[in-house]
């Protein structure tokens, strides 16, 4: 036990050290190339500049934390509203398959539409604020979670349904005891993707037209040729996406420990 625990730690530390080493070499090479004029900092920035940008805006100043907060809030609202609407719609579709067949062409068309094309419309309808960003994230999350909800509920093990029927379950019991828990693994894979797409929709909306948010900051910094700022925000966004995914993984592992 103890030995393997110690070995586990050792492995982890080794992994950490090798990644740190790799990044250090990469960043040093980049910095060196920038100083030698091999890689133009006007277009690529340089590591020292990026780090000092992050330091100034996240540690000394709090200004970017607030922008980050706007983006996170929009993403969460888009994700929650989109997923709830999708799960409810999926439920209605499973109860009324004919409605689904009827609506299918319209939903397919909407789903096929490059969603970013809706941005100008959303900005007109919901303004430059958070509303149009939530709408963007919503449209992306909704369709992903909807299709996984329908697939999950359709894929329920028929033996479970037959057993539950012979027990005399009410439709309500059947839904809460079998259909919903049985569909959760598939719904979850949709939710995980849906969260990432909610973030994508929100950031895209912010880049196009907004008063706040990391996307708006990114567009602004790019337009003023602040490459260190742009690179710094890309790092932050990658980190944000990873945090979202790992959060979902943890939740999934907890909720689906029976798998």
């Amino acid at each position: 036990m103890n030995a393997s625990g110690a070995q586990g730690w050792k492995k982890l530390a080794m992994g950490f050290a090798s990644h740190a080493g790799f990044l250090a070499v990469l960043l040093a090479t980049w910095e060196w190339a920038a100083r030698m004029g091999l890689l133009d900092p006007t277009f690529f920035g340089n590591p020292a500049g990026i780090i000092s940008f992050l330091w100034a805006n996240f540690v000394q100043g709090t200004h970017l934390w607030i922008e980050l907060g706007w983006s996170v809030m929009s993403t969460l609202l888009a994700f929650i509203s989109g997923s709830l609407a999708a799960v409810l719609t999926g439920l209605i579709f499973v109860i009324f398959p004919r409605l689904e067949r009827f609506l299918d062409p319209y939903f397919s068309a909407l789903n096929a539409l490059p969603r970013i094309a809706l941005a100008p419309l959303f900005i007109l309808w919901f303004g430059l604020g958070i509303g149009s960003k939530i709408a963007m994230g919503f449209t992306l999350t909704f369709f992903i979670v909807l299709s996984s909800t329908v697939a999950g509920m359709r894929g329920i093990n028929q033996d479970h349904i037959v057993l539950t029927d012979t027990l005399g379950a009410s439709p309500r019991q059947k839904f809460f005891l079998v259909t919903l828990p049985g569909a959760i693994p598939v719904i979850f894979s949709g939710l995980r993707l849906g969260l990432i797409y909610a973030l994508l929709g929100v950031i895209a909306g912010e880049i196009l037209a907004a008063e706040h948010g990391l996307g708006q900051q990114l567009a602004y910094l790019a337009s003023t040729f602040n490459m260190n700022g742009v690179m710094a925000l890309l790092v932050v966004l990658a980190w944000l996406g990873m945090a979202a995914t790992s959060g979902m993984t943890r939740l999934e592992r907890h909720l689906l420990r029976w798998q």
């Binding site: 029927d165 012979t166 027990l167 005399g168 029976w258 798998q259």
Partner: protein
């Protein structure tokens, strides 16, 4: 051990058979009927086994009793004097596959039937725990189905079925896919549980030895069309031990006799 709730019209019910099938003919498609003029009366408390070639309509008959199929048929079918109805609390149906819910622990699965039928939480937990111990799953209450072996899962399904207080148990090849040793264990267990409560059991199996060893009566069906070929009382006295029976000559005579009938059922 536990009394079974009978309707208030106890007198009438007591005279009725648990299951009454008269002149049942049923076809899924035009042509040869799946079940042809089957009549079968099962008195209360009888342990009845049905054997017969694959496709002769055994599962179809159980499904009909459980109210699972709605295909036009002629003749009458009565369960405790009533028409078959899906979700009848008088029936506990055990399917061939265990159909345990993978997100529920063994204890929660054993309690599942009672939960659906509205037994109070405290009582069903107690009864489920009791039955898990009886089927040899004491200590596995918190295990999920994926952590159980095939035989253990089937035991858990048996606990779930027995936990219901339905007076009629329908079992469709519940031990079909088990190894001989596990099967023997579960057969003895089933007989023990049945002897305590004397419910009516209709047990489908492909294993003639099993049928003779555990039943009061064995019905042999033939295929195309599905019909009853013979109906044999098993006079071996109870309590029986499934293991000991292997030495009993009555058992072997019955086996030889029914086997012959079964072969005729295959031929037509």
């Amino acid at each position: 051990m536990r009394s079974i709730d009978l309707p208030l019209t106890g007198n009438v019910v007591a005279q009725q058979a648990a299951i009454e099938i008269r002149d049942l003919t049923l076809s899924f498609t035009a042509g040869t009927p799946t079940i042809d003029r089957v009549s079968l009366t099962v008195p209360h408390g009888q342990f009845l086994s049905i054997v017969g070639p694959s496709g002769c309509g055994k599962t179809t008959m159980l499904n009909l009793l459980a109210g699972l199929i709605h295909v036009p048929h002629s003749g009458t079918v009565r369960i405790q004097g009533r028409e078959p109805r899906l979700g009848d609390h008088g029936i506990a149906y055990m399917l061939a596959r265990d159909s345990l819910l993978p997100w529920r622990t063994a204890l929660e699965n054993a309690a599942y039937g009672m939960e659906v039928r509205g037994v109070a939480a405290e009582r069903r937990r107690e009864r489920a725990r009791d039955l898990l111990v009886r089927v040899g799953l004491g200590g596995f209450e918190k295990s999920y189905p994926k952590q159980l072996s095939h035989g253990m899962r089937q035991r858990c399904a048996l606990a779930r079925t027995f936990a219901l207080d339905s007076p009629i148990l329908l079992m469709d090849e519940p031990f079909g896919a088990l190894d001989a040793q596990t099967k023997l264990q579960l057969e003895e267990l089933l007989v023990d549980l049945w002897q305590e409560e004397r419910r009516t059991v209709v047990f489908i199996t492909h294993d003639l030895g099993e049928a003779i060893a555990i039943s009061d009566r064995v019905v042999v069906m033939g295929a195309r069309p599905g019909r009853i070929v013979t109906d044999v009382e098993i006079p071996i006295k109870r309590p029986r031990s499934v293991r000991e029976l292997q030495k009993d000559h009555v058992y072997h005579e019955l086996y030889a006799h029914i086997w012959e009938m079964l072969e005729q059922g295959y031929k037509k």
